[in-house]
């Protein structure tokens, strides 16, 4: 079943330190007042204009196979290929912060308010990341309430464009999940609009199925090494 979810703003607002770090401001120094003021301005605009919405749908490994295969461009050793068959439950999701946030980022840049535009961009990106964590937690709770989770279980998200799952995988994912129903569209280069949107697969299974050493060929070109934090969750 395909469910549509409106996220609570309080669940997805990023921590100030995370936003400032994303802006290149180190955490070990006092934040100048003028940077703090820009942060407050950006957070306020985000709170007013974000429409955080998601859609999620459970599916079987058999249903996932053609979606994951996508356009046939995955790496031979794509991480998910050796994980999803061993999973107990799977769900595809898409989420977005809405188009108004992106319009506001553009407007701030057009008005030469670059600092606020860039800060709002960071806030919206990190909020989108947090929303995908909310989806992980919700899926975990939902499975828990159905008695499908043991203390050995972990839910982790995997996204097209990461870990050998080619970004062209977005096409089949879109055909199955139809995120256009929550206002997300996909162009020929597999780019989603609104920009602050994420898709992925939630994988619930025993912790060991997620275990890996991030030394694949494709790891060297990855600029987003969130895998270390993810792997840390396997031992926590």
């Amino acid at each position: 079943m395909n469910t549509i979810v409106q996220f609570e703003l309080s669940d997805i607002l990023p921590r100030p330190e995370a936003v400032l770090q994303d802006q290149g401001v180190p955490g070990d120094r006092p934040v100048p007042d003028r940077i703090d003021a820009v942060f407050t301005q950006a957070l306020d605009i985000f709170a007013r204009s974000a429409r955080p919405t998601g859609t999620i749908s459970e599916l079987t490994a058999e249903e996932l196979t053609p979606i994951f295969r996508g356009e046939g461009e995955n790496e031979a050793d794509a991480l998910l290929a050796r994980i999803y068959h061993r999973a107990d439950n799977l769900a595809l999701f898409a989420l977005t912060m809405g188009s108004e946030v992106s319009a506001n980022i553009e407007k701030l840049f057009a008005d030469n308010d670059f600092a606020a535009g860039s800060m709002l961009d960071s806030v919206a990106s990190l909020a989108a990341d947090k929303a995908s964590e909310v989806f992980e937690a919700r899926f975990f709770q939902d499975l828990s309430s159905r008695g499908l989770i043991t203390p050995e279980h972990l839910v982790l998200g995997y996204s097209p464009g990461y870990c050998g799952w080619h970004i062209s995988g977005q096409k089949k994912l879109f055909e199955y999940l139809e995120p256009d129903r929550i206002g997300i569209s996909l162009n020929d280069s597999y780019l989603m609009t609104p920009l602050k949107s994420i898709t992925g697969l939630l994988v619930s299974g025993r912790k060991e199925i997620h275990q890996c050493e991030p030394h694949f060929g494709y790891c060297s070109s990855c600029k987003h090494r969130s895998c270390q934090e993810r792997l840390a969750r396997l031992v926590s």
Binding site: Q23, G24, V25, P26, P32, R34, I35, V38, I105, E106, F109, N112, D113, F114, A115, G117, S118, M119, D121, I167, S168, N187, D188, S189, Y190, L191, T193, L195, S221, K223
Partner: protein, 210 residues
Amino acid sequence: MSLLEQISTSLQQGEDKQVFELTNEAIAEGIPAKEILDNGLIAGMDIIGEQFRKHEIFLPEVLLAARAMYAGMDQLKPLFAKEGIPSIGKVVLGTVQGDLHDIGKNLVGIMLKGAGFDIIDLGKDVPPEEFVETAVREGAEVIGMSTLLTTTTPMMTQVIELLKEKGFDSTIKTIVGGAPVSEELARDIGADSYGYDAASAVDRVKELIG
């Protein structure tokens, strides 16, 4: 402190309203526009660029200073009406066709402008022909292309090939950048240069122009 030093200091503090007022004051005092530009606005931005490189200040502070610089430049523009604001080189900049990400490209444009370049920003989703036609028509020395997706990097190749086809590859140089782009990819597709970030893009464009 001289008026031009005050402009530079206010700019470094990101005080756009002060820069606006001081620039008007300098114009009223008869200081030549080129002097206000070079010794007030660009001088301030140079210091900001240096402090950013040394990690003494951070992106938001650079962007506040950039806004202040634009506030001053807007006042100078009418004085340069005919020939336009003098620059150390002209760069046509854009996000390639198929991609709508422009924050990275915008940051590069802001830093280049702060360093004294004339920037023609074509925006995002820019077709290869538009890059080349604009650069030729405007007499630009450099085309700068940005993208955040691997799927749109072939568009960069198309621009480079189009330049060759039209015989402008020796007069118009190319620089590429963005998350999926690397020094190696830039070399492979025949780009003249690669910028890792906005600060290095400034150095690289300066090298290209010589």
